[in-house]
């Protein structure tokens, strides 16, 4: 790595504070140093370039405010985040007036610390022409790679590039498995909000009350069992992008609540007294006919108009068949690297099958088929027989029945074989077997399968 990493100077008189914060930030790859008082901090500032300073207000010797003023005199552009003891709001407010970037209370919540530092770095990027830092931040947010050369997908990508920099709400429409989340990530990654999080919420996966708690968060003790406060997704998306997948499944009640947040730009955690300002970009996705739902009164029209500002239609895979070989090759490369299986290519006859199949499950189904093929097949080529049977043309004889084997025997052997080939990666094996993980765990138990005999443990 040749570019300069983000650098943070920690000023606190307590060794354990400096030490633990330095460790904390090093895990993010940041360059860090500590200073035990104002003197040492000013010294460090003269020696080296720093992006952010974390400054404890209460230190023996030079007063925190004094240190702040002298830091700014030395380096006007530097961003100082004040650390204060819980409850000493006045001194924090004074520090803000003196030009501190923000303040946090001790003990610091890790999520708040990450968030405030991210915001500071974004501010630094906007205000400085610091090329090295810029390069680092650019590198931190890579645009997801969307594979395809067909006219259909190129048109989609053009639209993504056009709308990404605007702050407009985007509605992504397409069948399931077409990669709507990837498009949402691409929009986020090319937007000015890219240094903040993109927070996905699958609205269809949760019940109404769970979704509410998920979106709004709650205070400690808001309801039985809530031992900790919990930030909602709206808050997590502050500064960034909120991605609501399957937005058409929202209940009437949640629709009203979402609308209220979009209009007021405020959320109130369950059990909280005061609302909190939130600023996020909204991207939604659906595979449903929202217009029909509006006509039937199942989706509020006022919400529909808020959500449906810019629409991006993702074509199903069968309408961009020329991308199938490219996509297959992409997944082959990806999975063979992950699994360490030396596959080189898909045999032409197998490509033929892939291109002809209608792919009702779209790209996700294609990815699963390739992943499975790498497990059941033999390198270096994916052959037609490695692909799921559903891809095979209807003609052709079925394999001879294995006389004498009960269904259970065959199942047990098959489950074991797949587990062993995946190195007992239960998620992957379940995907290939097309059952959920709990079902797979049950089968492992039922057939008393265990890994001890397999090769994975013998690897050392």
């Amino acid at each position: 790595m040749s570019e300069t990493p983000v650098s943070i100077l920690i000023v606190d008189d307590e060794f354990s504070v400096r030490d633990s914060l330095e460790h904390w930030f090093r895990r993010d790859g940041y360059r860090t140093a500590g200073a035990r008082d104002g003197e040492e901090a000013l010294h460090r500032l003269q020696e080296d370039r720093w992006d952010v300073v974390l400054l404890d207000m209460k230190m023996p010797g030079m007063d925190g405010l004094d240190v702040l003023r002298r830091i700014h005199a030395l380096e006007p552009g530097i961003l100082v985040i004040i650390i204060t003891a819980y409850g000493s709001v006045e001194s924090a407010v004074t520090a803000l007036k003196e030009g501190a970037f923000d303040y946090i209370n001790k003990p610091i919540d890790p999520d708040e610390l990450s968030h405030v530092v991210q915001r500071a770095l974004e501010q630094r990027r906007l205000s400085s022409e610091n090329v090295a830092l810029k390069a680092k931040l650019e590198e931190l947010s890579t645009v997801p790679h969307i594979v395809g050369e067909s006219r259909e997908i190129q048109k989609v990508l053009e639209l993504v590039r056009a709308v990404a920099p605007m702050d407009a709400t985007v509605l992504i429409r397409g069948e399931s498995g077409t990669g709507k989340e990837l498009i949402a990530q691409a929009i986020h990654a090319q937007s000015p909000r890219r240094y903040f999080a993109i927070v996905p919420v699958n609205c269809g996966a949760l019940t109404e009350s769970l979704l509410e708690s998920e979106l709004f968060g709650h205070e400690r003790g808001a309801f039985t069992g809530a031992q900790f406060r919990r930030k909602g997704r709206f808050e997590m998306a502050d500064g960034g992008t909120l991605f609501l997948d399957e937005v058409g499944t929202l209940s009437p009640k949640t629709q009203v609540e979402l609308l209220r947040v979009l209009e007021s730009r405020e959320v109130t955690r369950l059990g909280a007294a005061k609302p909190i300002k939130v600023d996020f970009r909204l991207v939604c996705a659906t595979n449903q006919d929202l217009e029909q739902m509006v006509a039937e009164g199942k989706f509020r029209d006022d919400l529909y108009y808020r959500v449906n500002v810019v629409t991006i239609h993702l074509p199903p895979l069968r309408e961009r068949r020329e991308d199938i070989p490219l996509l297959a090759r992409h997944f082959l490369d990806k999975f063979s690297r992950q699994m360490n299986r030396p596959f080189r290519d898909v045999a032409p006859e197998a490509v033929d099958l892939l291109v002809r199949y209608p792919w009702p499950g779209n790209i996700r189904e294609l990815a699963n088929a390739i992943e499975r093929a790498l497990v059941v097949g033999k390198p270096p080529l994916v052959r037609p027989e490695d692909l799921p049977v559903s891809l095979a043309p209807p003609a052709g004889g079925a394999p001879a029945p294995q006389v004498g084997d009960s269904l259970a025997d065959v199942e047990k052997a098959h489950v074991r074989a797949i587990l062993e080939r995946t190195g007992w990666n239960v998620s992957r094996a379940a995907r290939i077997l097309d059952i959920d993980r709990v079902t797979l765990y049950n089968k492992i138990k039922k057939y008393e399968l265990s890994q001890t005999s397999s090769a994975a443990l013998g690897a050392r």
């Binding site: 504070v17 895990r27 003990p107 610091i108 031992q227 998620s427």
Partner: protein
């Protein structure tokens, strides 16, 4: 002796979780994994004023004594961990080094008033274990979507990661493997 030692620290979930971790860690790191009782008094890391355990002190305990016999030592705590100045941590690790510790305390959905979900808890535990051990191999936080080395400060962010390293991080852990 070598390989990875799993050291339960006030762990109520007990054997089933440890067995699950053993399997997943063995497969991921290609090392033998064994659970063993702490050879130290974990309560020396307890901070009564905070009602939490100081993870930095736990790390120091794990690293020494019987822990020296292993390539890696991972403490699996059922209690809440903190580092001075932060209100809590999911885990901590030496970067690089041999010792890591993780806490299950804030990984369980019921702590947040949600229905219990053992499968989710186990999955989160594996990801945290792999993540913290990843740091002991010198890995810093990774931006690759899905990579287990992504930083997660919210428990829900753990769910967005997979149990495995991306290709680049994986190479640091098992070069040539």
């Amino acid at each position: 002796m070598s390989g990875i030692a799993l050291v339960p620290i006030h762990l109520a979930e007990g054997p089933s979780l440890l067995r699950h971790l053993e399997k997943r860690l063995a497969a991921t790191f290609g090392l033998a994994v064994e659970a063993r009782r702490p050879w130290f008094d974990p309560d020396r890391a307890y901070d009564a004023s905070r009602g939490q355990y100081n993870s930095t002190l736990v790390l120091a305990q794990l690293q020494g004594g019987a822990g020296e016999a292993y390539d890696r030592v991972l403490g699996v705590a059922g209690v809440d961990l903190f580092i001075p100045v932060l209100s809590y941590v999911f885990g901590e690790a030496q970067l690089p080094g041999r010792a890591a510790v993780m806490s299950l305390h804030r990984l369980a959905p019921e702590i947040y008033g949600l229905p219990a979900d053992p499968a989710r808890l186990f999955a989160r535990a594996v990801k945290e274990a792999v993540h913290e051990l990843g740091h002991t191999y010198g890995l810093i936080h990774c931006r690759e979507p899905g990579c287990v080395m992504r930083s997660s400060t919210y428990v829900e962010e753990i769910d967005l990661k997979e149990e495995r390293f991306c290709a680049a991080c994986g190479r640091a852990v098992r070069p040539g493997g």
